[in-house]
């Protein structure tokens, strides 16, 4: 017989949705359009530039020994800003661990993020106590949490109401590598089964540490969704306008009660996996160069300059704002309060069992014994 469906033949959907070409020209797409103003695009540019500055500064802080680790988002700014700016209350946002740009848009103070990587804190954000979930480091685990939250929205009657503004959905972030995890595929199953209002936002940055996406899947990842009975869309992840348009569509559909969507943002991790990683071991300078030419920030800047929506003065202001932000980060990082081991017993249970109370007391007595000795 002839080869049935599911083989590696190409499909029209394989070409990522694009609305802004790398050279800054706006292009049309039959299905999606960006309807915002140039002022909004300028705001996106600001988000992206500041986010990149946060990222560079955090990387620098790690190099100086102030952070234990940092997973840079360099190159993924458009995917993150475009998708985050498509959310609104009462949407819920569930990140993985590289969503510093999403965190930024959702109002998380980047210093909170530094606390996690400095080892002063766990993975929660005092500055933004809800709406933006904890970072998760177990690959894929958060996709199930996101589906559960979407099931909660259904039970809270926040889906499919006539009053569209009352409706919400969940957007959950994960990587290309994560698509191989059982949890992520179970998340697809559960979301489809419940017709849950969840947008699975996969940043395909071409690598899971050293492993190229081709090792995880021999066909484009967005197609995974069709096998579970919901739509998948591939979008140019370096095109902030396209990302926002596609995510807006997906979220609207979910909020209306249309069920889950998988968005594959086709992008590139321009930096290392983390500050511990050395990408030269597994990829070429040529490849990095090719993707460098598709920088998500450059094209927005080019467009806005070309239409006169911004000028050099605007950019200079932004540069100054960036530096001020970086300065604030440096200071904020060093000022992060040192945690106390004694405090750790309080967050294990809602009511701490006696044995743990005693264990803490013993620890304190033991610590105090040193202080006494020292006297």
């Amino acid at each position: 017989m002839t080869e049935p469906a599911g083989t590696t033949a190409t499909d029209p959907g394989d070409v990522p949705v694009q609305l802004l070409a790398p050279d800054g020209r706006r292009v049309d797409h039959p299905d999606f359009a960006f309807t915002g103003t140039d002022a909004e695009i300028a705001a996106h540019l600001r988000d992206m530039v500041l986010t990149r500055r946060i990222d560079t500064e955090a990387t620098a802080l790690q190099r100086k020994g102030e952070l234990g680790l940092w997973p840079p988002l360099l190159g993924q700014e458009a995917a993150q800003i475009g998708s985050a700016r498509a959310t609104r209350d009462p949407d819920l946002v569930v990140p993985s661990y590289r969503e510093h740009g999403v965190a930024w848009c959702l109002g998380v103070d980047p210093i909170d993020l530094l606390g996690t990587f400095r080892g002063t804190d766990m993975v929660d954000w005092p500055s933004r106590p809800d709406g933006f979930h904890l970072y998760s480091f177990v690959i894929g685990t958060q996709t199930l949490h996101g589906v559960g939250m979407a099931m909660a929205l259904q039970r809270e009657h926040r889906v499919g109401n006539d009053d569209a503004a009352a409706n919400g959905a969940v957007v959950v972030y994960f990587g290309d590598g994560a698509t191989s995890q059982g949890d992520v595929n179970e998340a697809f199953v559960f979301a489809a089964s419940a017709n849950a209002p969840v947008v699975f936002f996969c940043q395909n940055n071409q690598y899971a540490i050293s492993e190229p996406t081709s090792l995880q899947s021999r066909i484009p990842l967005y197609r995974r969704a069709a096998g579970f009975g919901f739509p998948g869309v591939r979008v140019d992840g370096n095109d902030v306008l396209a990302v926002q348009a596609v995510t807006t569509w997906a979220l609207e559909r979910a909020r209306r009660g249309g069920g889950p969507v998988l968005v594959e943002a086709f992008t590139y991790r321009m930096g290392a996996h983390t500050t511990s990683d050395d990408p030269s071991k597994y990829r070429t300078r040529d490849e990095e160069g090719e993707w460098g030419a598709r920088d998500p920030i450059a094209r927005v800047k080019a467009y806005l300059l070309s239409v006169g929506a911004i000028d050099q003065a605007w950019l200079d202001d932004l540069a100054a704002e960036s530096e001020a932000l970086a300065e604030r980060l440096r200071a904020g990082c060093l000022a992060l309060p040192e945690p106390l081991l004694a405090d750790q017993w309080s967050n294990v249970y809602a009511t701490t069992p006696d044995r743990l109370v005693r264990q803490r007391e013993e620890y304190l007595a033991y610590e105090a014994s040193f202080a006494e000795e020292a006297r």
Partner: protein, 324 residues
């Protein structure tokens, strides 16, 4: 006051939990229309609707992982794992997420979830259907682990577990599902995390829980006929352990035998022995002994009677303890 089986008591307890708090949800495989393979949730979907008593797709990680999301939004999910041996696909979610969400969020986010697990052997089942995995969970900080041994406790403990703001692994001794007992639905229940002296005694303490409580009570009765007074302590909570109750009993009797179905090595008996020898060092007149499942995978059911602790093995250990 009425007489009912543990299965019915659990059903009644869950019904009351659902009725008392609209945030309580049930989820699991076959728990809705079928009422669960053990019928613990029978009738509850009909009564509370498909949105609150959810037939889940067949994936334990999915069941527990989505319940985490629901719990984070203020729901109180009670999930059923169909049999003990099928909890492992959800292990990562339980150990790395459920148990730690509070810690990961500096105390801000709780996961008030109950994971119900029918457990233990003695029912003539095929593999994976007779296991006692409680030690895996009791070793995990952030979880609470409890197990009722009788209908009365089952009725109350399930409600207390649902009401607890911490995640509770709720082990149900499936071989005792159909044994009857008095259930007083008005009585003030014992606090969830406290042990109970089921049979007072003076010569030695039997520390046990879940399905083995009945076995130990029978052993105490048999021992009494030979003039030996055994105290039986039903631990009820495996994490936290009710240390004071344990130590108090052992201090009185001077001897302790721990009895459980789970394999001995690193089973609850290990922790109890370690704590007792430390806290009751001078009161102990004999080493703490353990009567447990042997260190084998659960064997074919035709030999499970020999594998599982029974009255004779318990009394044999008591003899050895007293002979010291």
């Amino acid at each position: 006051m009425s007489t009912m089986t543990m299965a019915k008591a659990l059903n009644a307890g869950l019904r009351r939990a659902l009725a008392d708090d609209p945030k309580v949800l049930l989820a699991g495989e076959d728990i809705g229309r079928l009422g669960g393979v053990f019928r613990i949730t029978e009738g509850l979907q009909a009564e509370f609707g498909e949105d609150r008593v959810i037939d889940s797709p067949l994936g334990e990680a999915g069941i527990v992982g989505t319940a985490v999301g629901l719990a984070l939004r203020g729901f109180r999910p009670v999930v059923e794992i169909q049999f003990d041996g099928f909890v492992y696909p959800a292990f990562d979610q339980i150990v790395s997420q459920v148990s730690r969400m509070r810690f990961r969020s500096h105390g801000r986010l709780g996961v008030p979830m109950v994971v119900r697990i029918p457990y233990g052997g003695g029912i003539g089942a095929i593999e994976h259907h007779s296991e006692s995995p409680e030690a895996y969970f009791a070793h995990t900080p952030g979880l609470k682990v409890v197990t009722p041994s009788n209908p009365l406790d089952a009725y109350w403990m399930i409600q207390q577990a649902v009401a607890d703001d911490d995640p509770v692994i709720f082990f149900e001794p499936k071989r005792r599902y159909h044994e009857k007992g008095e259930v007083d639905v008005e009585a003030e229940p014992l606090p969830l995390y406290s042990a109970r002296v089921v049979t007072p005694g003076t010569d030695a303490t039997l520390l046990t829980y879940g399905p083995m409580v009945r076995t130990c009570v029978q052993a105490a009765v048999a021992a009494a006929e030979e003039g030996r007074s055994l105290e039986v302590v039903d631990l009820r909570s495996l994490s936290p352990l009710d240390d004071e109750a344990v130590f108090a009993s052992v201090r009185r009797t001077g001897r302790a035998v721990v009895v459980h179905e789970a394999v001995g090595t690193l089973g609850l008996g290990a922790e109890l022995a370690a704590r007792i020898q430390q806290e009751c060092f001078y009161e102990l007149q004999a080493p703490v002994l353990r009567v447990t499942g042997y260190d084998l995978p659960y064997p074919p059911s035709r030999v499970e009677d020999g594998y599982l602790p029974d009255l004779d093995r318990v009394l044999d250990a008591v003899d050895r303890s007293l002979a010291h």
